[in-house]
């Protein structure tokens, strides 16, 4: 199949919708996701928030087709994401929490791997495509470096650039701002919003970052103990009355809290 090589050529490719129905996931006796159902509209930024261990990343892996559900289904424009043909058709890209860059390859080779392996276009065009992605992420000077030579923020940006080279219709981010300072977190949030606007890509972000969720998310889902508590816009989220969700969204450091006093006694 001869695929277009530049972002401009792919303007005919519209963003995709994601449908999750009754999704459950168990690892041994431990239930990580319980009957999660949600619908992600083409072209939106959908943020999945929740405390650590609530099953956010597991849900993202299910959407990416990296894991088989115990029950329920995930469909991308009606197709199963576990099928390689679906991934190929929609160029689904996932930005991993730690970047998951190939350590034995330079930054340039990391980015060029997808178009080279899929023989999308001549090497010169691939070079243009890679350099364009590096430029968008302000990484032109890092092309020859290896992942071990990069800072945490740069690794995240390279991972985003690698996803961008794929010209995806569905872009998934796993904790894109974790372990970053507030300035870099804001930069990454801006990049996510810009990419969505510029390339009309459906974006799903898993994050702890309340500021990111409320600033760039068109809709935000809150996942707790594997259950979906709410799906709402940022404005609606401020009106939510579920005490656990309110506590999660507005954490307070309370030194009179019995938990803290117990620790102090230790």
């Amino acid at each position: 199949m001869n695929k277009p090589c530049s972002t401009q050529d792919r303007s005919d490719r519209s963003p995709v919708g994601v449908e999750v129905s009754g999704l459950s996931k168990k690892y041994g006796n431990q239930t990580v996701l319980r009957n999660v159902s949600l619908s992600i509209v083409p072209g939106e930024i959908f943020v999945i928030m929740g405390p650590s261990g609530s099953g956010k990343s597991v849900l993202l892996r299910q959407i990416a087709g990296l894991d088989t559900p115990t029950a329920g289904t995930v469909r991308i424009n009606g197709l199963d994401p576990m099928n390689p043909e679906t991934r190929d058709r929609f160029a689904l890209a996932l930005v991993f929490q730690a970047g998951a860059l190939f350590n034995s390859l330079s930054v340039y080779d990391n980015l060029a791997l997808y178009p080279l392996e899929h023989r999308l276009c001549p090497k010169k065009d691939i070079r243009d495509r890679v350099m364009r992605a590096l430029k968008i992420l302000s990484l032109e000077n890092a092309a020859k470096k290896f992942p071990s030579e990069l800072s945490g923020g740069m690794k995240k940006r390279v991972a985003i650039a690698r996803a961008l080279v794929m010209e995806p219709q569905l872009l998934l981010y796993d904790e894109p701002t974790s372990e970053l300072d507030p300035v870099m977190s804001a930069t990454i949030s801006e990049i996510i919003a810009t990419l969505k606007n510029e390339f009309q890509v459906t974006t799903i972000v898993v994050s702890h970052d309340r500021d990111l969720a409320l600033t760039i998310g068109d809709r935000v889902a809150i996942l707790m103990k594997g259950e979906l508590r709410t799906v709402s816009t940022a404005a609606e989220l401020r009106q939510v009355t579920d005490p656990e969700v309110v506590d999660f969204l507005n954490p307070k450091i309370d030194l009179k809290n019995p938990r803290y006093q117990k620790l102090e006694a230790l």
Binding site: A93, L94, F96, A98, A100
Partner: protein, 250 residues
Amino acid sequence: MKQFNSVFEGLGSAVTLAYRSFASLPNAPRIIKRVVEQAYLGGYSTLPIVSILSFFIGAVLALQSGISLQNFGAKQLIGTLVGESLVRELGPLMVSILLAGRVASATTAELASMKVYQEVDALVTMNIPPERFLVLPRLLAVLVYMPILTIVGIVIGWFGGAVVCEYVSFIGVDAEQYFHSLTQFLTITKVIDGLIKSEIFGFTIILIACNTGLRTKGGPREIGYAVTRSVVLSLITILILDYFITKALA
């Protein structure tokens, strides 16, 4: 029972891995560069240690057989004994043991760390099958370099034996007699049998290494366990296989 199940699970997953890897054989032209790279890493860089080890195995074999055969007045057969032992058994086996210790351990460590640090997941989301990208180049490379390493090992082992015969006075067989006796009973069939063995051993070792690496779950500690498991499993498997292949080729 649990361990019994895990043996069969491992076997099933190795067979599936081999099948999936060779199913992407039509894409072989695009992985030639990686095959060459793996042949260099696995074959060329193992050559010095294979040479040293084979030389001394040949030397020790000649020395031991010299001492033993002297009692039976059959010293003139030292060459035959060293030649055949190296061609049919010790050459393929020693190269395989080195391969397990050096290449298989490195392969498992690399793939296990790629699995643990989600690089394998990244390949899957990019729709690049790990079997094609990571496993097939290694399997094709071992099929290329294993017979070469074995032949080099065998020939250097023969020379090790020749040096002992030439310079150890009590053996009383010179290098010319040694090579005469070595070539007298050596046939091309025996050499091919040895090379078949080494191909099967090499393929099995790299398959076990890749399979163990790609099945690794958890954190950095599991990478270490995976490497140990891969080397031990490779050694046990080739020794078991050795018996059956020898029987089949006899």
